[in-house]
């Protein structure tokens, strides 16, 4: 169980990005984080992970999330990474083994094998030596997914993994994520394409500055809740 108590994130300029978040998230499955632009979806994830200054408590299996750092993977929006960085596909995937290696230890045969297997799973065999800047958006996103697979974390957070990604890559990624969820991983994904919500997610969290609704997609993803989340009257154009 991932428990979130009174989570609040305030920007440095004093504006509240998110407040009053209280959730008891059940483990397993893929959960979509849905909301309009500027609703605080990314901030929600970063607040949970402690990447932005936040108030409140986040506990997983009864312990603070910082205790589970090695069991936590976060794939942020890929545009935040430097594509000119001197690293190829293989070594980028291999980075996923670093957290569990500890200081002074180099990745060995076991880690390299895991990286190779993950590259095969995302369908990038033959591109191991490509510098990451020479990949398409979809290929690079698959590299990041392979890295996440190698990390072997129980909690996985993804921020808009399908932005700038081709249909083929998107299909490969969602199938792999579904497979990971079946193996017992808990996955959260910030997502904006409403047309695919029912197909991709068993559960959803609807967010707009606070949590509007959380639950099974078929129960919570209703017209009423969506109207509340994407309230047109919140739009400055209508006021």
């Amino acid at each position: 169980m991932l428990e979130i108590q009174d989570l609040k994130v305030v920007y440095s300029n004093g504006v509240e990005a998110l407040s009053g978040v209280n959730l008891q998230l059940k483990p397993g499955g893929i959960c979509g984080i849905i909301g309009p632009n500027g609703a605080g979806k990314t901030t929600f994830v970063k607040g949970i992970l402690g990447l932005v200054p936040s108030y409140g408590k986040v506990r997983f299996k009864g312990k603070p999330l910082s205790h589970w750092a090695k069991q936590t993977a976060y794939v942020e929006q890929k545009r935040n990474l430097d594509l000119d960085f001197p690293i190829n596909v293989f070594h980028c995937v291999l980075l996923g083994t670093y957290p569990k290696l500890g200081f002074f230890k180099r990745p060995g045969a076991k880690e390299k094998e895991a990286a190779r297997k993950a590259i095969e799973q995302v369908g990038l065999v033959g591109l191991e030596d490509r510098q990451i800047g020479e990949l398409s958006g979809g290929q690079f996103q698959r590299v990041l997914i392979a890295r996440t697979i190698v990390q072997d974390a129980d909690l996985i957070f993804l921020d808009e993994p399908f932005v700038g990604v081709d249909i083929n890559s998107e299909a490969i990624i969602i199938n792999l994520l579904k497979q990971l969820a079946q193996e017992g991983k808990t996955i959260f994904m910030v997502h904006h394409d409403l047309s695919k919500v029912q197909r991709y997610f068993e559960k959803v969290i609807l967010i707009n500055k606070t949590v509007i609704a959380y639950g099974e997609t078929k129960e919570v993803y209703t017209k009423e809740n969506l109207t509340k989340t994407f309230n047109v009257f919140d739009n400055p154009l209508f006021t």
Binding site: L51, K70, E76, P99, F157
Partner: protein, 288 residues
Amino acid sequence: MGEALHTFINDLIEYPFLQQALSISLILGIACGMVGCFIVLRGLALMGDAISHAVLPGVALSYILNISYFFGAVVFGIMAALGISFVQHHSKIKVDSAIGIVFSAFLALGILMVTKIQSAINLNNILFGNVLTITPSDRILTIVVAIIVIAAIFLFFKELQLSTFDPVMAETSGLSVKLINYMLMLLLTLITVVSLQTVGVILVVSLLITPASTAFLLTKSLKSMLWVSALIGAASAAIGLFFSVTYNLPSGVVIVLTATIIFLTVFLLHPKTGLLWQFLTKSRSKIA
């Protein structure tokens, strides 16, 4: 040129001070080249510049207190690094302005101190470096510091790589990115301070940035970037020293210009990305 090289090698065999100057230049070229890779990849070139300028008051103070210049310089280098991040985090001032404010203030203070205390410090040597006047104790210090810096990069390669490429993943998976940043700043300060005598305050940033940038153009992995940068750093130092001794020129200036020539050669002639080839293909396609 062949004759000059011959004389240089003969001098090298004959004069221990020249051997020492060469060994120091080589090890500094290697260490600066390696630290420089992380400085270049993290976009911290200005930070290196700031720290190198900011150590000057420390050098003057060390002279007044009659202690090794090293300690004063390191303290002021660290103060500058902390001062910059303090100004940046406690106001809306952007990092390049914070760097500009802090380093010029420290440099001005340093020049004031050096000129007013009528010391035996030769401002020219601090500003531009002279590897031939290095004392035996400073030589040992330089070698020890350079070895520590190189060893730290080897030992923490994984952490430095991950936190440079993807600090967010590093942070979420439990690595203290802040701690790694502080370590890198410390390594940067240490190597800058011991490089002062060789290349001087003004030019040390070049030894950090130019070989690493050249290697960045040439390589596709961080490991090879580190090796190539170290090699270019060492080569620049050795070639620079040769010209410095042969034509009686300040060592720092010549080392920096050598590194720059290597950079320009790669920048223009690199088989894939070289500016010259790009220009030629463009004009050829125009003609066609």
